[in-house]
């Protein structure tokens, strides 16, 4: 298996020395709305709660803004799991954005199942901005889920393509 994405950032003549850990960690995207979700993530930080470093948060005005194409695009590019985090139902700052996001996420899950990628790689959750521990819990769960499902096969095929072309 090719080296983990983030290791490439640690190459160079003056790179800081760290012990190399070559275990595969899934690459997870958490789409977080600007209100509750982003704040819950920040609170997890100020409470120093720990979660795996393979998680990248992408900040979005509202979960209702997340386009189906972006979720599918992220999987196509290699995401092993995606979490869509919005405000609690009824608490969306844009009234119903999170409800539409939920419907959209359900549709994408179905597509993922259909194409064999696994609908479990995508999850939509609703959190309030003080639910930092729940946020971390969801992160840990999606990481576990992605680990159980194994690396995104689209990423593997992409890698073998690029390896072949070299």
């Amino acid at each position: 298996m090719k080296q983990l994405n983030h290791r490439r950032n640690m190459e160079g003549p003056d790179a800081p020395e760290f012990s190399a850990d070559s275990r595969w960690e899934p690459e997870i995207i958490a789409f977080c709305c600007d209100y509750c979700a982003y704040s819950a993530a920040a609170l997890a930080g100020s409470n120093r709660m720990q979660y795996p470093a393979g998680v990248r948060i992408i900040h979005t005005p509202c979960t209702g803004k997340i386009e189906t194409e972006h979720i599918l695009g992220a999987f196509e590019k290699g995401a092993d799991g995606i979490l869509v985090v919005g405000c609690l139902e009824g608490g969306c700052h844009f009234v119903e954005g999170n409800l539409r996001a939920r419907r959209r996420a359900d549709r994408v899950c179905a597509i993922l199942d259909e194409i064999g990628l696994g609908g479990g790689r995508l999850k939509m959750v609703n959190l309030s901005d003080s639910m930092a521990s729940e946020f971390v819990q969801e992160i840990l769960e999606i990481v576990e889920k992605a680990k159980a499902l194994g690396p995104n096969p689209l990423k593997l095929s992409k890698q073998s393509e690029s390896a072949g072309s070299l």
Partner: protein, 1514 residues
């Protein structure tokens, strides 16, 4: 100087934000009226008022007595009736407040002086110290991590603890820490002569930080292990803990800490090296405790110190006066060795008789230039001469002087001594001599005789007990008269009885009884009566008796450059006194050499040095936990009680230290100072005074929870909580997170809520209005917490007052919960079960049966009250309070205080919930705006930015700034590496890492780099964009760049903090996050903030009380108003109301209002008119009005919906069929003037029955109309006044009079008006029999009730206006299921409609009373002024836009948008009206043709980020 006038400062005010400086003083001079408002209290009401004012062109000072804004709302878990998370909705308001440049938040402040007149008040504000530099603190929390002091958290209402350095909650604004210190010192610290920070080292010991504790002790006591053994520890004498059980064993802890360090030399804290070695030499004469202390202090300051000691070894009296068993020599040697490590030179066996000889020539004449010789001398030679008492026979052989005796023993000699020893004296020296004698081999008996009676001896009782244990025979109350001798050898001593030692002033003045004599035989008599100083030829001036004369404060002697201290000055004193003198000498020698007038103190000073006392309330909740009994650990030891093992191990030391009550709050252990890499801790900060000038004041100081009733176990039973405490327990951010019983931590399974425990029945007649709903909310939240586990909730209360919008539905939800039962009863008793600490509640059921139930936890709804501090503030401002302590206002002017120019809002006005408080806040803001309308904009700033550079054609040139954030990021992430990697990324032209990228100086630096490298995009990798994005955007705008050419990536909250155990992964991720941000930056485009012209006029729909009040408020502010009324006259429902409960004349008020409205030059009234259609958006609406068939188009900037409501009609209860049945409205109309309804005229003893909730709170109208109970009580009282003999019965389901109105239902009861409850399932039945009414009520207690009234009055409630559905369609504003207009947010935007620029008030919102309508109308005016006051509206540029070429006009966007922003335009394409778009992007994701994009969030930027994330590696 002009600035000085407006903003005077006294003293240092490091905590004040810089914003205070920015004033336009010339304008103030011209106008005299000040365009600034002081808002007192920064709860939700204060915050709302500030935001409205600041957004409408006024400068605001937001004053808050605590460390952060947010008030009680921040403490709430959820808010009813929507169950919104309180913090979620509050937090954005807090940030908005912090960011607004016209709001100056002044925390930890209160009003000191208040003067002036409306329009121009002068306010002196006392700024209490925060002890943290607000500008430097970045809220990393490192200080709290190291703080050893735990104190009960006020924010968590005492159910959790916090550190002495703290932030109330993570979202707190200002987002900085603060330190709490009590007004005075901890008594232990203040009673230590040497100033040892006793509380500090105990706190550190409690945290297991022994090394730090040792270091802290050593700052004021260079010989910790020594002093622990011999100090009389005055610190323990005033310990507050002794009020509970026994003082904390400070001395033993000191000993344990010191010994622990001695046993573990690797933990020995090295002395801090002096900042600079000074080329100045100091001589210290005498190596005792005073000399050593001074030498250590001076060496730490950098001086070169030489100690001259006459004896062979250092230590002075410690070595030669104290026996080895009390102070082991190896400990003394070790600690002296440590001090000498500071580089102190020692010359032993070097007696100095003339100190002046050591001085370098010239010093005495004031020449202080450095040259060979000593620059100053400290004389601390001690008091070594024994003094004989002068009694006959004291020259016999066998009579010895005590000190000589000890000196012999301590120098290893065996003194010649007889078998019977008698020691005479009352000091430690006598005790030591006796005990030493007892240890000598040939001694058979040792007696000690003293003047004092038993128990009067001023020595350590422990040492006394040890001496007794060792067999010293104490003879009390004896004064020696002669020493008997035979052949020159002592054989005994004759005594007379001493009857008292001290006079009434506790001065030494012994009285003797000469007749009572006795004698004690002795071979050796040891006298310890006193010591003198042997410095006869020193050349220094002395007092009689040989003590050196030295200045009390500076210790300067008669010779310049020579200082003296210790026993040589004081006479025999304790070691701790000697050390105190050593410190003082060092400080004044330093000042002398620096030539400074003032002495720099080596310890932290406080506002007051007095010892702080702790109130008994604070002492109460501590578990009793007796002091570690030292004797227990040494049982069996008889002869040589050794201090080595007082506290036996680490655990017992920590347990003992944890008994400390932290009286000083902060212990000043200085750990935070060391931990803070930003250097933000300022322990020496002092209070400061700021003077401001304002035109108006808004009081919104809020409430405090009333204390728990002691009858119901408040303060006595651990498992009885207040409502707020329970709320904190429920809160996700609270200390518990679960519902645990405080007594044992077990999860509660049975919870009881008892309502109205104080609010109505004890201290006041008023109802706190919020408790019923709050309890219901807490009950639901508690059930949610159980995740399906078993939890039973019982709510005891006589009534449920759910009077707000949608409240009854909420109560129905709670009632339908099978686990919640409402019991309509008020408990008679609450008792705690001794074993289980469960709580038994006894009550009488509605059927009259005594019952008892047991619960695990009880929550008391004790209601709200005004705090003492707020009452004091009101007095300072000359504001009148009502009998309950709330502010006095009128029902027609609910927001105006008795003092002109001062307005009020929130719970201080009357207990109320959040939306009503928020509405009042906006209303109070409108009142202030009306008063200050001529000076609007004079002090508010508008920032001018340079002309924006067009970068559209430039290739991206990105600058990357990576923040260390102190070590918050840098300790985990290798930020320098991240910056180096960033520099190599494509399009990055500059990258660097900074310590604090957000600091002011770095903003200047970033600007310089933008200029130097011609950067056109900026990436900052640091913390949260929520808090810091605007800051950097401002920097961009000031650098002539568009603010949207900026990306912030969070490598702290999302990287270093959450991956702190994996630096490699965190660093790699940080690089990744930066590269993703750079990828995004590459694709960013500039786009302008949209600016819209504003039509400064308002369209108000409805000419009733709400419409007219709002109209006048807006018109008074100078804006045009168009008031549209569908009827031919103004007044609406108010025309039917005669008086208020308080008997104010409503019609007079109405006439006044109508004439003001009609005559106001800014108001145009359109009678008989309706709104037909409206178009446009906030700032620019165009509406068409129809007046009697004619249409007219008007332009306006805002709309206010004030269309009112109507009294509901009914056919129930024979209404309309029997003329004796009428509505409350009809009754009131019939009582106009002084008349009576026809049915009652001439009848003296008429019977009137009123029925409440007719066609209300049922399936058809499932809401409470709020006003009916008050109306019924009002009409009943009025009837009773006019017909005193009539009988009135009010049939009701609950009596929902709330707030101060509740006292009128009590008054009604007192006047004999009967309240009879009926069940909602069993309504009264009305029949007509021979024209006479018969009412049957199924009553619970006494069976059925049959009434035959002369008049039946129905409270039918309020219905929404008929025109609401049509108007809702015209305005595109939703209605609630009940038919009222739906506000934008039920809690925080109560008078806004969802569409920007549209507002609502009065009955259009929900049923309400007149004062509430007035407040809401003023609120709508205040909110509207935010728009109307601006000549141009700046609209966020981040809006959606349509690519017309792609649009298929399917109108999906029109359906999806919650704000009505997209329209299908004349070209048949969708078009998004920028001003209405909120930038959520819902339309973007929904558009099937992908024709819509959201600015700044275009697909290309997101895809670029994803590409970057998976590039290469993925």
């Amino acid at each position: 100087m002009q600035r000085q006038k407006h903003c005077k400062r006294a003293g240092e005010t490091p905590a004040l934000p810089a914003k205070l400086k920015n004033f336009n003083m010339e304008k103030i001079q011209q106008t005299e009226t000040i365009g600034a408002v002081l808002v007192c209290g920064a709860g939700i009401a204060g915050i709302q008022a500030s935001l409205d004012l600041a957004e409408s062109g006024f400068k605001v000072y937001l004053l808050e007595p605590t460390a952060a804004i947010g008030g009680h709302m921040a403490q709430l878990d959820k808010t009813y009736p929507t169950d919104d998370c309180a913090m979620c909705i509050l937090s954005p308001r807090l940030v908005e407040c912090a960011r607004n440049r016209n709001i100056e938040i002044i925390t930890l402040a209160d009003i000191e002086e208040f003067s002036g007149r409306p329009g121009h008040f002068k306010v002196k504000i006392r700024q209490n110290p925060r002890y943290i530099d607000i500008k430097k603190c970045d809220a990393c929390g490192d200080c709290a991590q190291v703080c050893p002091v735990d104190i009960p958290s006020e924010f968590d209402c005492g159910i959790g603890t916090r550190k002495a350095v703290f932030r109330p909650y993570p979202q707190a604004i200002p987002n900085v820490f603060s330190i709490s210190k009590s007004a005075g010192q901890a008594p232990c610290k203040s009673y230590c002569p040497a100033g040892v920070n006793v509380q500090g080292f105990i706190a550190l010991a409690a945290a297991g930080k022994f090394s730090e504790a040792y270091e802290l002790i050593r700052q004021r006591c260079p010989l910790p292990a020594v002093s622990a053994r011999i100090c009389p520890h005055p610190c323990e004498s005033k310990c507050n803990r002794s009020e509970i059980d026994a003082a904390v064993s400070a001395c033993d802890l000191e000993g344990f800490v010191a010994d622990h360090i001695h046993k573990n030399p690797d933990k020995y804290p090295a002395f801090a090296q002096p900042a600079a070695k000074l080329d100045r030499k100091i001589a210290v004469i005498g190596g005792g405790p005073a000399g050593l202390t001074a030498a250590a202090d001076l060496a730490c300051m950098g001086y070169q110190v030489t100690i001259f000691e006459a004896k062979p070894d250092l230590g002075g009296m410690l070595r030669y006066g104290i026996p080895d068993y009390r102070l082991p020599r190896k400990i003394l040697d070790e600690e002296i060795r440590c001090i000498l490590q500071l580089g102190i030179e020692v010359k032993t066996d070097s007696p100095i008789t003339k100190p002046a000889d050591l001085l370098r020539p010239g010093v005495k004449n004031g020449d202080t230039s450095p040259r060979p010789g000593f620059d100053a001398v400290f004389v601390a030679t001690g008091a070594w001469l024994g003094r004989k008492p002068g009694i006959p026979g004291d020259d016999a052989s066998g009579v010895r002087e005590g000190l000589d005796f000890l000196y012999e023993i301590n120098t290893g000699k065996t003194p010649e001594i007889g078998p019977r020893v008698l020691v005479i004296g009352n000091t430690d020296l006598a005790l030591d001599a006796a005990r030493c004698a007892r240890r000598l081999p040939d001694v058979k008996s040792v007696s000690l005789a003293c003047l004092e009676g038993a128990g009067e001896l001023r020595v350590d009782p422990r040492r006394l007990a040890e001496a007794v244990e060792e067999g010293v025979d104490f003879r009390y109350g004896l004064g020696p008269t002669r020493i008997e001798a035979a052949s020159g050898k002592a054989i005994g001593v004759t005594f007379r009885a001493c009857t008292s030692v001290f006079d009434e002033f506790k001065r030494f003045d012994p009285l003797f009884d000469d007749s009572a004599t006795s004698s004690i035989p002795a071979d050796t008599v040891i006298l310890t009566s006193g010591r003198a100083v042997n410095l006869l030829r020193s050349g220094l001036e002395t007092r009689p008796g040989g003590r050196i004369l030295a200045d009390q404060d500076t210790l300067a002697t008669s010779i310049k450059g020579i200082f003296a201290g210790g026993d040589a000055v004081l006479g025999p004193a304790s070691m701790v006194d000697a050390m105190a003198q050593g410190h003082r000498a060092a400080e004044s020698i330093d000042a002398f050499i620096r030539g400074a007038a003032s002495i720099r103190s080596t310890s932290v000073s406080r506002a007051s040095n007095a010892a702080s006392t702790i109130s008994s309330a604070k002492l109460a909740p501590r578990p009793k936990n007796s002091r570690f009994e030292i004797r227990d650990s040494r049982s069996g030891e008889k002869r040589s009680p050794n201090l080595e093992s007082r506290i036996s191990n680490l655990e017992s030391a920590i347990a003992e230290a944890r008994r400390c009550l932290a009286c000083g709050l902060c212990s000043e252990c200085m750990q935070c100072v060391k931990a803070c890499s930003a250097g933000a801790v300022l322990h020496d900060q002092q209070p400061a005074t700021v003077e401001i000038e304002v035109g108006s004041v808004i009081l919104a100081p809020g409430f405090e929870e009333s204390p728990l009733s002691e009858d119901f176990g408040g303060g006595r039973y651990a498992n009885v909580l207040s409502s707020l405490q329970f709320e904190r327990m429920l809160s996700a951010s609270g200390p518990a997170g679960r519902i645990r019983r405080p007594s044992d931590g077990v999860e509660a399974k049975r919870i009881a809520f008892i309502q109205c425990v104080r609010g109505r029945d004890a201290a006041g007649d008023y109802c706190s209005s919020i408790c019923c709903m709050n309890t219901a909310k807490e009950a639901l939240a508690a059930l949610e917490h159980m995740d399906g586990g078993q939890l039973d909730i019982t709510i005891f209360g006589r009534e449920v007052k759910a009077v707000g919008k949608d409240f009854d539905r909420y109560i129905d939800r709670v009632r339908s919960e099978k686990n919640v039962s409402y019991i309509r009863a008020f408990p008679s008793r609450l008792q705690e079960a001794a074993q289980t600490r469960n709580l038994k509640i006894r009550y009488r059921s509605p059927k009259g049966i005594e019952q008892e139930q047991e619960f695990d936890l009880v929550v008391l709804g004790s209601g709200l009250q005004v705090s003492a501090g707020v009452k004091q503030m009101a007095a300072q401002l000359g504001v009148q309070l009502n009998p309950f302590g709330f502010v006095q206002t009128g029902r027609f002017s609910p927001l105006t205080a008795s003092q002109p120019g001062i307005y009020v809002a929130g719970a201080f006005q009357e207990p109320k919930d959040i939306p009503e408080s928020v509405a009042q806040a906006s209303g109070a803001a409108a009142c202030a705006m009306g008063q200050l309308t001529t000076v609007r904009g004079t002090l508010a700033q508008r920032h001018e930015y340079p002309w924006e550079r067009d970068v559209a054609d430039e290739p991206p040139r990105i600058g990357v700034f990576v923040c260390h954030c102190g070590h918050n990021i840098a300790s985990v992430v290798d930020v320098e590496w991240v910056a180096r990697k960033a520099a190599k990324m494509a399009d990055v032209y500059y990258a660097e890492a900074n310590m604090y990228t957000c600091s002011d100086s770095n903003q200047q630096h970033i600007k310089a780099m933008i200029r130097k490298h011609r950067l056109n995009r900026l990436v900052v990798a640091s913390c949260s964009s929520r808090t810091h994005e605007v800051l950097f955007q401002e920097t961009l705008r000031e650098s002539a760049l568009n603010q949207y050419l900026f990306v912030m990536t969070n490598i702290r909250d999302q990287c270093s903090w959450v991956h702190k155990n994996d630096p490699a992964a965190a660093t790699a991720k940080a690089v990744d996050l930066v590269s993703m941000a750079v990828a995004r930056a590459r694709h960013l485009k500039a786009f302008p903030l949209n600016e819209l012209e504003v039509t400064a006029s308002a369209l108000i729909l409805g000419g009733g009380l709400a419409g007219m009040t709002a109209g006048l408020s807006i018109a008074d502010q100078g804006f045009k108003v168009r008031l549209v009324e569908k009827e031919a006259v103004l007044g609406g429902l108010m025309r039917n109301i005669q008086s208020t409960l308080e008997r104010d004349d409503v019609q007079a008020q109405l006439n006044d209002l109508i004439s003001k409205t009609l005559s106001h030059p800014n108001i145009t009234v359109y009678l008989n008119s309706n709104l037909v259609r409206t178009s446009g958006q906030v700032g620019n609406f165009t509406s068409v009005l129809e007046t009697e068939g004619k249409e007219k188009s008007v332009d306006h900037g805002v709309v206010i919906v004030a269309t009112g409501g109507r009294e509901r009609n009914t056919e129930k209860f024979l209404h309309g069929r029997n003329r004796h049945v009428m509505t409350q409205g009809a009754l009131e109309a019939a009582m106009a003037g002084n008349s009576l309804p026809e049915e009652l005229r001439g009848k003296k003893s008429a019977i009137v029955v009123m029925v409440q909730c007719v066609e209300s709170r049922d399936e058809k109208n499932p809401y409470c109309s709020r006003v009916c109970c008050s109306e019924a009580v009002k009409n009943a009282l009025e009837l009773k006044r006019r017909l005193p003999d009539c009988s009135i019965v009010i049939l009701n389901r609950d009596i929902r009079t709330y707030g101060f109105r509740d006292m009128y239902s009590r008054k009604a009861r007192e006047q004999g008006i009967r309240f009879v409850r009926y069940s909602e399932h069993d309504e009264p039945t009305v029949a007509e029999e021979k024209g006479r009414l018969k009412i049957r009520v199924a009553e619970t207690a006494d069976g059925d009730l049959l009434l035959k009234p002369d008049l039946l009055v129905l409270s039918t409630g309020i219905s929404p206006a008929e025109g609401n559905p049509a108007l809702s369609a015209v305005l595109r504003s939703a209605l609630t299921p009940d038919g009222y207009f739906l506000e934008a947010h039920p809690k925080l935007r109560p008078v806004d409609l969802a569409n920007e620029g549209e507002f609502l008030c009065g009955l259009a919102h929900s049923p309400r009373l007149m004062d509430e309508t007035i407040a809401q109308a003023q609120a709508a005016a205040g909110r509207a002024s935010r728009v109307l006051s601006k000549s141009k509206l700046e609209v966020a540029g981040q809006v959606s836009y349509v690519n017309p070429a792609e649009c298929v006009a399917c109108a999906t966007c029109v359906k999806v948008c919650p704000y009505g922003a997209p329209i299908i335009n004349v070209l048949g394409k969708s078009e998004i009206q920028g001003a209405k778009c909120m930038g959520c992007g819902s339309c973007v994701a929904a558009c099937p043709a992908k024709a819509i994009a959201l600015q700044h969030q275009e697909s290309r930027t997101i895809m670029a980020v994803l590409d970057e994330m998976f590039a290469g590696g993925g």
